[in-house]
């Protein structure tokens, strides 16, 4: 699938990714990483981690990491193409299924499907966290800060923003 236009490659990649993104955009981060860093070589490992960090730090859905990847690979059209590929088909599907949802709310097959999809999503999101942590860990203190962030945000209800600000501050001061 070698095409001269990176936009074609972006669209094909994110179309496939979106259909696999059961459990949300974070569930497919390892796959995005594999394609963007390892297969296509659009970004380095550190650039990918940084792009994800910017998408997390900026307000809005975390899936905007897709928009940013598109932007960095092919500019404004790349951003638009990647975003629409990621959201278009799944939005249509969500619209159609959403209209039928109430009718099947008591159905047994729905509980069976959820019973399969929920643990899959949990495993995939946990894998995303590990893949990102590996990309972000440039030193022992950085890795320790990732672990501390995970523990604090798991045990408390404080806004993630505080830990993001702390990480940015410690990083800027050269402490992690």
């Amino acid at each position: 699938m070698s095409d001269d236009s990176p936009i074609t490659a972006l669209v094909l990649h994110f179309l496939l990714i979106s259909l696999l993104a059961v459990g949300g955009a974070n569930a497919v981060l390892p796959e995005m990483h594999r394609q963007v860093v390892e297969v296509a070589g659009w970004m380095s490992n550190a650039e990918f981690a940084r792009t994800f960090a910017i998408a997390q730090a900026a307000p809005g859905p975390n899936m905007l990491v897709v928009t940013l990847i598109g932007w960095q690979v092919a500019g404004a059209w790349g951003a638009l193409a990647a975003t629409l590929a990621m959201c278009g088909p799944t939005c249509v599907l969500a619209y159609v299924v959403g209209g039928l949802w109430h009718r099947f709310r008591e159905a047994r097959w729905r509980r069976v499907v959820q019973g399969a999809l929920v643990p899959l999503a949990i495993g995939l999101i946990a894998a995303s966290g590990v893949v990102l942590a590996q990309g972000a860990a440039r030193s022992v203190p950085t890795a320790l800060f990732t672990a501390a962030t995970a523990i604090v945000l798991y045990l408390t209800r404080i806004s993630p923003l505080w830990m993001m600000a702390l990480g940015a501050g410690l990083g800027a001061l050269g402490l992690i």
Partner: protein
């Protein structure tokens, strides 16, 4: 069904307490959620849709989260499309989607341009490295939160599916399509078996 005036929220009321939102209200409603959603939209969306605007009841919101997870694609985008579509059809879905994504998409690109331009400066690049470390921790914490039911009420089939998915993506580093092609049918079969009784 006589609702006592002391009931703070008519929990079983199916009638929307507020008139259905129009297109502009859907756009602005999701915009107001998304511009303050740092690090995750879902908790803020719940507060807005259920408590502030009262477009959906708490029960409906929980259902919609289930639906958004069950469908492929970004969860919060699916949620916006379903809510917008329920009130105003396809145009409502579009208004909710644009409200959720348009301004943040432009914003995130601008932020990235600024960071890329000044990324050579050591401090900015170090700051982003610290930010990336925090963002990774956030995802791990979210996974741990989502996994809570698994260890509160451990069920063999659920744990096995979650662990298999985790190991396939981290240790073996297989493409997601292959992982899903194998694990999804296996997970469905296990879940069906577990729900049999």
């Amino acid at each position: 069904m006589a609702a006592s005036p002391t009931d703070p929220v008519p929990a079983d009321s199916r009638a929307a307490p507020h008139p259905p939102p129009g297109l502009a209200q859907l756009f602005l409603g999701f915009l107001s959620v998304t511009v303050v959603a740092f690090g995750g939209v879902l908790p803020i969306a719940r507060r807005a849709l259920v408590e502030r605007y009262r477009w959906v009841t708490p029960e409906e919101f929980t259902e919609l989260i289930g639906l958004a997870q069950f469908l492929p694609g970004p969860n919060i985008v699916n949620l916006a499309v379903v809510v917008g579509g329920r009130f105003q059809g396809p145009l409502g879905a579009l208004a909710a989607f644009l409200g959720l994504t348009l301004v943040p998409a432009v914003g995130v690109v601008l932020v990235s341009v600024v960071f890329t331009r000044y990324g050579d400066i050591g401090a900015v690049s170090s700051m982003l490295a610290g930010l990336a470390a925090a963002a990774a921790g956030l995802v791990i914490a979210m996974a741990a939160r989502m996994a809570e039911p698994l260890w509160r009420h451990p069920r063999l089939h659920s744990s096995a599916i979650a662990i298999a998915a985790f190991l396939a993506m981290t240790l073996v580093s297989l493409p997601l399509a292959q992982v899903m092609a194998v694990l999804l049918p296996a997970a469905l079969a296990l879940s069906w078996w577990a729900h049999r009784r």
